[in-house]
C-alpha cells in the first residue's frame, strides 16, 4: 500500500461508487429486485476473488468453496440469532471458523494433486452439507429461519473492498509470489526453498476465510439458510466465475462474478430455459476462449496514470 497516484485514484473511485449506490438507494431508484442482485453481485465477487486465490494463483483445484461459505453462514447465523451477538463479531467468527475448517481440510488433502484434491474438496463440501442436514440445533434439512437482516450495502461494500484489498496485497507480497511459484511449477518452487505445504494451506485458509465472510453476509441478507443452498452446484458456480474471468486475474473474477450474476438475473423469467442458456453460454465461451475473459492479465489504471518511478506495482502477477 503506497500512496501513489494510482492507489489514491482507486481509493477515490471506490468511495465514489459507494456513495453513488448509497445515494441511489436512499433516493429509491434501486428496486427490491435490483437490490437483491446487487447484494448477490457483491457476495459472488467475494467468493470468486477468494476462490481465485486458491485455484487461479496457487493452482490448487478446489471444489468445496460452498462448504466454507456454509460454515461461515451457519456459524454467524447461530451467533446473531441464537446467542444475540453483534453482527461484526458474527462475521469475524464465521470467517475464522471457515478458515480453521480450511486448515483442517487443507493440511491432509493438499498433499493430493490435481483431480484428487478436487474430488476430496468436493467430498468435504458434501460432508459439511450432510452434517448441516443432520444437526437439529441448526434446523436440519429445513435450515435456519428468522436470521436478522443485518447485511446492508455498507457492510457488503466494506467487506468486498476488504477482500479485494487483502488478496491483492497478499499476492503482491513475498507470500503471494510464493503461491504463484507453486502454481507455475511445484517441484521447482520447492527446490527454491519455498515451503509448499505451508503456502498451499495458507492460500486455502485465506480463501476459506473470505468465503466465510461471504456466507455470513448471505445468511444475514436472505434471513434463511438451508443445507440445499450449499450444494456442490454452488461451488461449481463460483468456479465457473473464476475460470470465466480468467484464472489468475482478480479484475477478471470481479467482472465475471458481476456479469454472470447479472445474466442470471436478467434471464430469471425464463425459468428452466435460463439454466439451459447458461449452460450453452458456458460451453461456447470455454470452447472459444479457454483462458477466460482476461487470461492472467489485469485491468489496471496504468494506462491513464503516468508512472512515477517504481510506484506502479500493479495487482496480480
Amino acid at each position: 500500500m503506497r500512496f501513489s497516484k494510482k492507489n489514491l485514484l482507486s481509493l477515490a473511485g471506490a468511495i465514489l461508487i459507494y456513495f453513488l449506490v448509497y445515494w441511489l438507494q436512499a433516493a429509491g431508484v434501486i428496486s427490491a429486485f435490483q437490490e437483491i442482485n446487487l447484494m448477490m453481485v457483491g457476495i459472488n465477487i467475494i467468493l470468486a476473488v477468494s476462490l481465485n486465490l486458491i485455484v487461479g494463483f496457487t493452482g490448487q483445484l478446489a471444489l468445496g468453496h460452498a462448504g466454507f461459505m456454509a460454515v461461515g453462514a451457519y456459524v454467524s447465523a447461530i451467533l446473531t440469532t441464537n446467542l444475540g451477538q453483534p453482527f461484526p463479531v458474527a462475521i469475524l467468527a464465521g470467517a475464522c471458523t471457515a478458515a480453521v475448517a480450511g486448515i483442517i481440510i487443507g493440511l491432509p488433502t493438499l498433499r493430493l494433486r490435481g483431480d484428487y484434491l478436487a474430488i476430496a474438496t468436493l467430498g468435504f463440501g458434501e460432508i459439511i452439507r450432510g452434517a448441516a442436514n443432520n444437526i437439529n440445533y441448526i434446523g436440519g434439512a429445513a435450515g435456519m429461519i428468522g436470521i436478522p437482516q443485518l447485511t446492508n450495502w455498507t457492510w457488503l461494500y466494506l467487506m468486498m473492498v476488504l477482500t479485494i484489498l487483502v488478496i491483492v496485497n497478499f499476492l503482491n507480497s513475498t507470500h503471494g509470489r510464493a503461491c504463484v511459484a507453486i502454481r507455475e511449477n511445484e517441484i521447482a518452487a520447492e527446490t527454491m526453498g519455498i515451503n509448499t505445504t505451508y503456502y498451499k494451506v495458507l492460500a486455502f485458509a485465506m480463501g476459506a476465510f473470505f468465503a466465510g465472510i461471504a456466507g455470513a453476509l448471505y445468511a444475514h441478507y436472505f434471513y434463511l439458510i438451508q443445507p440445499a443452498t450449499f450444494t456442490f452446484f454452488r461451488s461449481f458456480d463460483i468456479l465457473v466465475m473464476v475460470v470465466f474471468g480468467g484464472l489468475g486475474s482478480i479484475t477478471g473474477s470481479i467482472i465475471a462474478a458481476a456479469a454472470i450474476t447479472i445474466i442470471n438475473a436478467a434471464l430469471q423469467d425464463l425459468a428452466v430455459l435460463r439454466m439451459v442458456i447458461y449452460a450453452v453460454l458456458l460451453i461456447v465461451i470455454m470452447v472459444f476462449r479457454p483462458q477466460g475473459l482476461m487470461g492472467t492479465r489485469e485491468f489496471t489504471l496504468d494506462r491513464w496514470v503516468p508512472k512515477r518511478g517504481e510506484a506502479s506495482g500493479s495487482a496480480g502477477n
Binding site: 498433499r111 467430498g123 450432510g130 470455454m286
Partner: protein
Amino acid sequence: MAVFLQQIINGLSLGSIYALIALGYTMVYGIIQLINFAHGDILMVGAYIAFFGVVYLKLNIWLAFIISMIGSAILGVLIERVAYKPLRNAGRLAPLITAIGVSLFLENGGLMVLGTEIRSYPAGLITSAQLPLAIFGIKLTATTLQLLILAITIAMMIILQYIVHYTWAGKAMRAVSYDPDAARLMGINVDNTISVTFALGSAFAAVAGILLGLYYNTIHPLMGIMPGLKAFVAAVIGGIGLIPGAMVGGFALGIFETMVSGYWSSKLRDPIVFLLLILILLVKPSGLLGKNNTEKV
C-alpha cells in the same frame, strides 16, 4: 448376522450399478485425464431412451437396452466432439468447466423437455420375484431383479475385458492412455480411439441408467447427479484410470453404503461415503488398486 448378509446382497446389486457407471468415468479419465461430470447425466438420457422405447414404441426390454446403449453412445461421442475435443490442449481446467456446462445442459434440458414429473418403467417389464434364499439357515430376501442386475453387470464387465484386451480398438485405447503422442507416432488414430472410449463408457452408463430406473422404480431428469458423483468416488477409491479398480471400487462403495444405511441411518449415508473417500485418499491417494507414482522432474 442376518442384517449383515442381507446388506451384502443389497450392496452387491447397488454396487454393480455403481461399478458400471464408474467404468465409464475411469475409461475416460484413463485416456484424456478428464473428470467427465456429464457422465451421470448420460445415464439419465439412457434411462429415458429405454423408457420411451418401452412405453411408446412397445419395444421388448432387451431391444430397449440395445437402442438405449446405441443412443447414449452417439450422445457421448457428440459431447466429446463438441465440448472436449476443441479443448484438448487448453489445460486441465477448461474441459472440466465445459463438462460442468454439458452436465447442466443435460439436466436442465431434461427438465425442460421432460418436465419435473417422476416416471417409472411399466410394471411387469421384468418379472421380479422373491427368491427364497437361506445361508447357514438364515433366511434372506433377494429378488430376481437384484440377481439380474448382478448378472448383467458381470456380463458387461466380461465383454469390456474382452474388448480392452483382445481387440484392436482395445489395444489402441491402452496405447493412447499410456502415451498419446507415442501412440499417434505408431499410426493410431488418437481422436477415433478417444471417441470409441466415450462411446463405450456412455453405452455402459445407459445400461446403468436403465438398471437404476428398474432398481428404484423411478426415473427423472436429475436422477444421474448423485449416482454419477458416487460412481466417481467409487472410481477414485478403486484407483482412477484402472478398469479393475472401478469394479472393485463400485462393489466396495455399494456394500459400504448399504451397510451404513442398514446399521446406522440412511440420512448419514452420503456424508459418510465422502468421509470414506477422504480417508482412503489420505492413506492411499492412488486408490485401492493404484500404484504410487513418484513425480519425476
